[in-house]
């Protein structure tokens, strides 16, 4: 279906983009990769008055790693750039893996990690592990910059804390502390290309065999990617034995609040939440040991 008509703006600087966003007001949408925006427009769900393309703004591109400050993923950094970046692969392997597992080759060559978060699908591949790692959204607006941890970023399906007039400029991922490991696990009934039916991100801190800290985030089983706080409390201070992992899985599945839809039934999602939580904790603990 042909796209609806709109005004196309392609600012060169963030200041110019913020100004255009303020001037054009309601009905103005930001375009990064376009892989969600254009689909919504093609399907008639969205009729923007104006579209502001972010790709020409150099400051929003690229991926920067600083051993002290962590990783900054620019708003227009492609999923494929995240997945194949040497520093991301070396220091944030689960971030690279989640990006690699998002959609298909062409979408990863167009779509951005920031866009995957801003689109705020409950199933967003990149949300669970980044949220578990304490990543934050860097948001620019008329009043300056603010940072919001991803566990407070999502408001509902398709909704985030980003206010009209604001632009997400980067995603900041803190350095993984020594003794901590991460994992991303997901399942989809139609293989890897499809949107996840359930996905789980975890970061655990280990002291020998004992789990001293855990953050577990479940995707596609609630209106937003959700922390499984009771599960985190359950594993904290315990050795991650097969019995504890099974208990943790059961607990996570109780915390999950999935719906049934065309991808999976709620009961299947609950069971897979248990399986994937166990796997994520195990893999994250193994990564912590290395």
């Amino acid at each position: 279906m042909p796209l609806p008509k709109f005004e196309y703006l392609s600012p060169k600087s963030l200041e110019e983009a913020l100004q255009l966003l303020a001037d054009r007001g309601e009905g103005t949408h930001l375009l990064a990769g376009g892989t969600d925006l254009l689909v919504k427009m093609a399907h008639g769900h969205l009729k923007p008055r104006a579209v502001i393309a972010l790709k020409q703004i150099d400051a929003l591109g690229g991926i920067r790693f600083d051993p002290g400050k962590g990783l900054f993923i620019g708003a227009t950094a492609l999923l494929d750039e995240v997945a194949s970046h040497p520093d991301v692969k070396a220091h944030f392997p689960s971030v690279a893996y989640a990006a690699q597992q998002t959609a298909n080759v062409q979408i990863r060559n167009m779509g951005t990690l920031a866009g995957n978060l801003c689109n705020a699908a409950p199933s967003a591949d990149n949300a669970p592990v980044l949220t578990a790692m304490g990543a934050e959204a860097v948001i620019a607006g008329p009043k300056g910059e603010r940072r919001v941890a991803l566990d407070r970023f999502f408001k509902g399906p398709g909704q985030t804390v980003i206010e009209p007039g604001e632009i997400l400029t980067a995603v900041h991922v803190p350095v993984i502390p020594s003794g901590f490991g991460t994992s991303y696990q997901h399942v989809s009934p139609r293989g890897k290309v499809d949107i996840a039916a359930v996905c789980v991100g975890a970061m655990v801190g280990m002291d020998g065999a004992t789990c001293k800290e855990a953050r577990i985030v479940l995707g596609a089983v609630a209106p937003v990617p959700m922390r499984a706080e009771k599960t985190e409390a359950l594993v904290r201070g315990k050795a991650l034995t097969p019995e504890i992992l099974e208990k943790a899985g059961r607990q996570a599945s109780e915390e999950a609040r999935p719906i049934s839809d065309m991808r999976a039934g709620a009961e299947y999602r609950k069971r897979m939440t248990a399986v994937l939580t166990g796997r994520a904790l195990k893999q994250a603990a193994e990564a912590a040991a290395n």
Binding site: Y8, S10, A42, A53, K55, V105, Q106, M110, K192
Partner: protein, 158 residues
């Protein structure tokens, strides 16, 4: 307001005046008459519209023409510019029976070219992953995977 665009398509520069809501797929097919690139689902699922933009494979149905101003576009027509001598990927598709109805072929070939540009000796799993954004309703994929493996052999630097 129409946008003035410069697109370099298969090495030829085109100056165009285009409505900003037109996709790259529409411009290639309707303005430049390059109908080798197909339009399938229109939502980035099927890969029939795959082209390369500055060397990256993308869905031309989800790409605004205005957003690729000044960029280098490669379409299936550019694989065999003479119209006679086929690209090794195309030769392999013919030789391996990888084409039935032909609708997915242009997109498959562009994805194969992109894959082989990044990995000149992919194994079967890597070929399948590389083509995972392209759907074929006829072949069952095996001949296509075989064709890409054969193309990799043909293209191996000697």
């Amino acid at each position: 307001m129409k946008q003035l665009l410069t697109l370099r398509v298969n090495g030829i520069t085109h100056e165009l005046s285009i409505d900003p809501w037109r996709t790259l797929n529409e411009v290639l097919r309707d303005e430049l008459n390059l109908t080798g690139t197909k339009l399938g689902c229109g939502s980035g699922d099927c890969g029939a519209c795959t082209v390369l933009v500055d060397g990256r494979s993308v869905s031309s149905c989800l790409t605004l023409a205005a957003s690729v101003d000044g960029k280098e576009i490669a379409t299936v027509e550019g694989l065999a510019p003479s119209g006679e001598q086929l690209h090794p990927v195309q030769e392999s598709f013919v030789e391996n029976g990888a084409i039935q109805c032909g609708f997915c072929t242009a997109g498959m070939e562009m994805s194969a070219v992109y894959l082989l540009g990044r990995n000149n000796a992919p194994d079967e799993e890597q070929i399948r992953a590389g083509l995972s954004g392209n759907l074929c309703r006829c072949t069952g994929y095996n001949q296509i995977v075989e064709a890409v493996a054969a193309a990799a052999e043909k293209m191996k630097p000697s």
